[in-house]
């Protein structure tokens, strides 16, 4: 009974870590540019596909992840520069549509490069399950949760300690004022896309041994990352992380105790309930708008 619960919690935590990374990516971009980047899931896909196919052709794993990460960052910057920045003053609807277009486009390109079938990536340190109080856990789960935790702490430090990080924070608070004190806000937007892409790609690479890699792997992961970000209050980084873990654990519990067929629906049921009853997310501030 307890072992079963623990089992669900562990698998929920694993997938929740990926949602947290994706949600954090949404928040970073939203803060820098007020864009909801629906191509976030595609960064995850690029990371997963690149590391799976590169290791299959003999590239060492760390290098493969690094290349996937770099590729995703490049794609992120290109999307920001040629699609998002060009429509800078466009409405919210327009920007959402641009990023949806980018995600469909990237998926199409990925299909051309890698084909439609599932790619396998070996677990980083074997597949002998670890026994914890009667529940068993894949070693890969530790990699996922560990990597996510390290990245999240690193991002926190980046925003708190570095000049670039502070410039990005300043831009999110007031774009015009940031510009006035000499922050290159265009570069901040590019940096935010690169950073989110890197987070997504690493997430994709570490989760690939569990989920397999395929060109559509980013769709659901990305959308659930979005629910994590909204759940935590859009633009609230730590909120997105907590949101991701909540979504992941709720999903695993729901799949275990209620119905595994409805696993993918659980995140969206939660988000609808939150929007109806706590419209600014769990940790979001009540927004006011200046004209």
């Amino acid at each position: 009974m307890f072992a079963e619960l623990l089992q669900y919690m562990l698998s929920g935590l694993t997938i929740g870590a990926i949602y947290a990374l994706a949600g954090l990516g949404f928040s970073i971009i939203y803060n820098a540019s007020h864009v909801i980047n629906f191509a976030q899931g595609e960064f995850i896909m690029i990371g997963g596909m690149a590391s799976a196919t590169l290791t299959a052709s003999g590239v060492p794993l760390p290098l493969a992840i690094l290349i996937g990460c770099g590729g995703a960052m490049l794609v992120g910057v290109l999307v920001a520069k040629f699609a998002v920045e060009r429509a800078r003053n466009a409405s919210t609807v327009t920007l959402i549509i641009i990023t949806i277009g980018a995600s469909i486009f990237l998926r199409g390109v990925a299909e051309l490069i890698w084909g439609k079938d599932f790619k396998r990536l070996d677990a980083f340190s074997g597949e002998t399950p670890i026994q914890i109080l009667g529940a068993s856990m894949q070693p890969q789960s530790l990699w996922v949760v560990g990597c996510a935790a390290v990245l999240i702490v690193a991002i926190g430090l980046f925003f708190a300690k570095t000049l670039t990080g502070k410039a990005m924070l300043a831009t999110s608070h007031n774009r015009l004022a940031a510009q006035l004190v000499g922050i290159d806000v265009k570069r901040v937007v590019l940096a935010s896309f690169a950073l989110s892409a890197a987070l997504g790609a690493v997430g994709g690479a570490v989760v690939a041994p569990i989920t397999f890699s395929y060109t559509e792997m980013g769709i659901m992961l990305g959308l659930k990352g979005f629910t994590a970000a909204v759940l935590g209050g859009l633009g609230n980084g730590p909120g997105a992380v907590v949101g991701g873990v909540i979504v992941g654990v709720a999903e695993a519990l729901g799949a275990g105790y209620i119905s595994s067929a409805y696993k993918d629906a659980i995140a969206f049921v939660i988000i609808l309930a939150v929007l109806l009853f706590m419209p600014n997310g769990l940790f979001g501030k009540r927004g006011t708008e200046r004209v």
Binding site: I36, F82, A83, R86, A87, A90, S91, T92, V93, T94, I96, I97, I98, I100, G101, A102, S103, I104, F105, L106, R107, G108, V109, E111, L112, I219, L223, F226, T227, V230, L234, S259, A261, Y262, D264, A265, F268, V269, I271, L272, L275, L276, P279, N280, G287, E289, V291
Partner: protein, 315 residues
């Protein structure tokens, strides 16, 4: 005002004329079928355009409403033997109530929250349709009987073409009237500046809710009729990609242009047929169109073309 009314009637007449003479140029039922599908898409898009173009809100789940309408007809008229028109109305009422219940609290918020909520509804609907196979037939879908009203059975492409054509004209007429009504002007104000609209006394949230409900009901009715026409419905008709496709049509044709929505629906229904040779590139083309339209002609196809013309054609 007179000129505007004039322009509105001309557009409607042109569209009516095109619909009337088109069958003469369509060699067989295959083309008629594509025209009918374009008509169904156009009906949904005209409604969605009201929401996107005039209320400045985006729905990423309209295919879900289309799907509810389709399955309401399939299940109620098929499995339970209701008269098709009653099943259609039941679906529409259900969708209307659902849309109202969701939109009422959410549309008071600003920004992306309606997108999130509609996305959620759409995905939940398609998962339910896929899973409850006892009722819906699961991923393989279900068969739907032909539409019968007053003992007359609608059957065959030729009959459906005129039904869909007439309905499309009706939907467009309704939409044009709505846009020129005080409510339509209020909506444009909402899209321009919501705060300014509120300051001059427009109850913006109420208008946004009304438009959202209306567009959802359009989608449901189109879904019901589509189910009877096609005879087979699958959950794919309700999923996220179908929702994106609908948004693409509206945006490509021209946001805030009723005829633009129709043109967008027609062009993007035809495009995959024309692109079957490029099957592998279909996603790239679709995604590329979305991005390029928004970056290079943010107003969409029809308004951009209209701006190039010297005359003042208004849609």
């Amino acid at each position: 005002m007179n000129a505007l009314l004039h322009g509105r009637l001309t557009g409607l007449l042109v569209m009516g004329a095109v619909i009337a003479i088109l069958p003469a140029f369509l060699p067989n039922n295959f083309y008629l079928d594509i025209a009918i599908l374009a008509g169904f898409n156009a009906m949904v898009c005209v409604g969605l355009n009201l929401l996107i173009g005039y209320a400045g809100q985006i729905s990423l789940g309209h295919a879900g409403f289309f799907g509810i309408g389709a399955y309401a007809s399939g299940v109620l008229a098929g499995t339970y033997g209701w008269p098709p028109i009653l099943a259609l109305l039941a679906g529409a009422v259900f969708v209307g109530v659902l849309a109202f219940a969701v939109a009422k609290p959410i549309l008071r918020l600003k920004g992306h929250y309606l997108a999130m909520a509609t996305l959620g509804i759409g995905i939940i609907v398609s998962i339910v349709l896929r899973t409850e196979s006892g009722i819906t037939g699961g991923p393989d879908g279900m068969m739907v009987d032909p539409f019968k009203i007053f003992g007359v059975e609608l059957y065959g492409e030729k009959v459906w073409y005129w039904v869909v054509g007439a309905l499309l004209v009706g939907v467009v007429w309704l939409s044009l009237n709505l846009i020129d009504s005080p409510m339509g002007r209020a909506l444009r104000a909402v899209h321009g500046s919501e705060v300014a609209a509120e300051v001059v006394g427009v109850d913006t949230a109420r208008f946004k809710v009304m438009v959202f409900v209306l567009s959802a009901v359009f989608a449901s009715v189109a879904g019901s009729l589509f189910a009877h026409y096609a005879g087979l419905i699958t959950p794919a008709k309700a999923d996220f990609f179908k929702s994106i496709e609908l948004v693409t049509m509206v945006v490509f044709g021209g946001m805030a242009s009723t005829f633009g929505a129709v043109v967008g629906a027609v062009v993007l229904t035809l495009l995959p047929q024309a692109l079957t040779v490029f099957q592998d590139y279909q996603q790239i083309v679709l995604g590329g169109i979305l991005m390029a339209t928004m970056v290079f002609m943010p107003k969409g196809l029809l308004p951009t073309l209209a701006a190039l013309l010297p005359a003042r054609r208004r849609a």
